[in-house]
């Protein structure tokens, strides 16, 4: 039951990225302060990992002749989900959990292909309600409150 190895995707780009990360991490490792006796103790592991990345990047780049093209057909959808993720966290910090989730839930469903307007509306009400009840009421976790506005202030706490 052996699987024939196929070339790794985007070897040139990955090799270059590893080398650049290795160089950056090595520089950052060398800027870690020494201890009171002037020893390198805190630098050993960061330096070893950084140098490993550098060496592995060089090896990867040398193998880049057998490059395999990367499937980029769904990058727009991935970028959309990433943008939604970042926006969701920012909205939580600005407007609190309830409003942010009421906005994020239908958008996430839309990205995954749900087109029913009734379903999307239901999600924007039921999702914040369900998560709020389970995590912030049931488990007693202190909810993330919005800096600018929070619905919990309006509806009377949590």
């Amino acid at each position: 039951m052996t699987v024939t190895p196929e070339p790794a995707p985007a070897a040139r780009a990955v090799g270059t990225a590893l080398i650049l990360t290795g160089i950056g991490a090595t520089a950052a490792s060398l800027s870690i302060g020494l201890d009171q006796y002037g020893r390198w103790g805190a630098r050993y592991f960061p330096l070893a990992a950084s140098a490993s990345l550098l060496v592995l990047g060089v090896i990867e780049l040398r193998a880049s002749a057998k490059d395999r093209r990367l499937d980029r057909s769904h990058l727009a959808a991935i970028a959309g989900l990433l943008a939604l993720s970042v926006a969701y966290v920012w909205t939580i910090s600005a407007f609190g959990y309830l409003i942010a989730t009421a906005l994020a839930a239908p958008l996430a469903l839309l990205l995954f292909g749900v087109r029913s307007v009734a379903g999307l509306c239901a999600a924007s009400v039921l999702c914040p309600l369900a998560y709020h009840l389970v995590f912030f009421v049931g488990l007693g976790v202190f909810p993330p409150l919005g800096r600018w506005f929070d619905l919990l202030d309006l509806i009377g706490g949590y």
């Binding site: 960061p46 490993s52 966290v89 839930a105 995590f135 488990l139």
Partner: protein, 502 residues
């Protein structure tokens, strides 16, 4: 005798039994959903267990891991889509049987074999783990560092498609673990002036990002190309009973595969997918009729299912005795131990012996529970899975990941970490990096660094301390040897494929 006391503890606590039962069902369902792994479910549910007592929390997640491995076979047999990587070998004979209208017979073989394999692994763990811990207690920092080194190299190089990218994943995991204050000198490392980073990167949001959000990104990509799941026809009910005469030829395969799985489980990082394929290959080599394998042989289901479940128990041995997780589930369980203030490692058997044997007892009861539920209800679980719309499931998982990451420390910075880790996890899967090696190395880095620096303080000869102590040298050589063997094997396969294509 410890396990008898553990069983008495568990059987006398109905609430604990209810958690184990719930974990059996949840694990089975999660394992049966293609693309959603037991690791992802455990990472997502981890914050819920912060509010539980240590034993129910550990038992809940441990049993989800066990029944999740078994649940993967349901999707493999019914939908020709393995629920987990570990059940990909089961698919080879399971789906042909389902197409012959014998899906329920195939699932019964998978259930019985999984239960026997899992029980074998668990019994070996119970019998051997305290003995391994006693040996581990005698290891000094140089030996411990050498064990960590071997684990880094084996985990980075042996699993995954690319040795270079696997090792790079491990190195990246170490680098991320270095963020924050140095535990000895309190020097800032990789904090870049950010106050949030001085506390370091927390394990829970990192795991949720890599295993849960990363999977959501991957599913968004793959679901657009995939048709909806369709279960194979249940067929004639008389074809779906399993007689002793039919199962008897499977028994040698189940016994052999259980030991193969248990052995592979003890080695950090190899995991149940490798165990299943090794057992399948070995079973086919020794089969009376190898031609029947791949066309619906019951033995072809029994062998990989016994092996992939036998991994579960022994994979806990390096975790509990050395603090080295043998699998991603082990890495996640480390989070539970740490959150509940339980220090893992060889001293665990001195400080929390009752807890550990009660956990093993929960494992045994969990195996019995998923065995009974699976034998009589696997087909129902299969039908239930087809009714869960992926368009709704993955957005719900997406939203749950955010609240779970926040719950771990009540900190929105952790949620940003989770998002970054999710995107990185997707990128790692896409580029053949190894997310499991990344996480396991992240977990191991702290202990490895401590052992390394303690060794240097003990040493009069600097780094030579690692080669002058025989056990340390042996583990260093095991690491290097595993790397060399893996590189040579891949080179040989590549050479053979080039020659084959000429």
């Amino acid at each position: 005798m410890d396990i008898i006391a553990g069983l008495a503890t568990v059987l006398g606590d109905p609430v604990l039994l209810a958690w184990v039962l719930l974990a059996s069902v949840v694990g089975m369902i999660v394992g049966a959903i293609p693309g959603l792994t037991a690791s992802a479910a455990i990472a997502m549910l981890l914050p819920l267990t912060f509010y539980m007592e240590p034993l129910p929390a550990l038992a809940f997640l441990y049993v989800i891991g066990k029944s999740g491995r078994y649940g993967g076979s349901i999707a493999a047999i019914l939908f020709n889509t393995p629920g987990t990587a570990a059940s990909a070998a089961t698919q080879l004979d399971g789906y042909p049987l389902a197409r012959q209208g014998k899906a329920a017979k195939a699932m019964k073989v998978a259930t019985i074999s999984s239960v026997i394999g899992d029980l074998t692994g668990e019994i070996l763990l119970i019998a051997g783990v305290a003995w391994i811990a006693a040996i581990a207690l005698r290891l000094g920092p140089p030996e411990l560092f050498a064990v960590y080194f071997a684990a880094f190299v084996v985990i980075g190089s042996v699993i995954g498609k690319s040795v270079v990218r696997g090792l790079a994943s491990a190195a990246l995991g170490i680098l991320v673990a270095m963020v924050g204050l140095d535990p000895i000198s309190a020097t800032e490392r990789f904090t870049f002036g950010s106050f949030d980073l001085t506390n370091g990167i927390s394990l829970v949001p990192l795991m949720i990002g890599i295993f849960v959000l990363g999977e959501v990104f991957s599913q968004l990509e793959t679901r657009q190309n995939q048709p909806a799941l369709a279960a194979a026809s249940p067929g004639d009910p008389s074809d779906n009973t399993l007689s002793w005469a039919e199962y008897k030829p499977c028994i040698p395969h189940v016994v052999r595969s259980s030991f193969i799985g248990a052995f592979i489980g003890m080695l950090p990082g190899l995991g149940s997918a490798i165990a299943a394929f090794v057992a399948y290959g070995e079973g086919k080599r020794r089969a009376r009729d190898p031609q029947a394998w791949g066309r619906g042989a019951l033995e072809g289901i029994a062998a990989p299912e016994a092996a992939n479940n036998a991994v579960s128990g022994p994979s806990m041995a390096p975790l509990l005795t050395l603090g080295i997780p043998g699998s991603t589930i082990g890495a996640i369980l480390i989070g539970v131990f740490l959150i509940h203030g339980i220090q893992i490692g060889p001293a665990l058997f001195l400080t929390s012996r009752d807890l550990i044997f009660a956990l093993f007892a929960c494992g045994l009861i969990g195996i019995a529970m998923y065995g009974v539920i699976g034998y009589f209800g696997a087909a129902f679980v299969g039908r239930f899975i087809t009714r869960i719309p992926a368009q709704v499931l993955y957005p719900v998982i997406f939203l749950t990941a955010f609240v779970a990451a926040y719950t771990s420390r009540g900190n929105l910075f952790d949620v940003y970490v989770m998002v970054a880790a999710g995107f990185a996890g997707w990128g790692m899967r896409k580029l053949d990096f190894n997310p499991a090696a990344f996480i396991i190395s992240f977990v191991l880095a702290g202990g490895a660094e401590e052992a390394f620096r303690q060794s240097l303080l003990l040493s009069d000869t600097g780094l030579m301390i690692f080669v002058t102590r025989p056990i340390a040298l042996a583990f260093l050589l095991i690491g290097v040897g595993a790397l060399v063997l893996r590189v040579r094997r891949l080179a040989r396969q590549r050479h053979a494929s080039v020659q084959g294509s000429v």
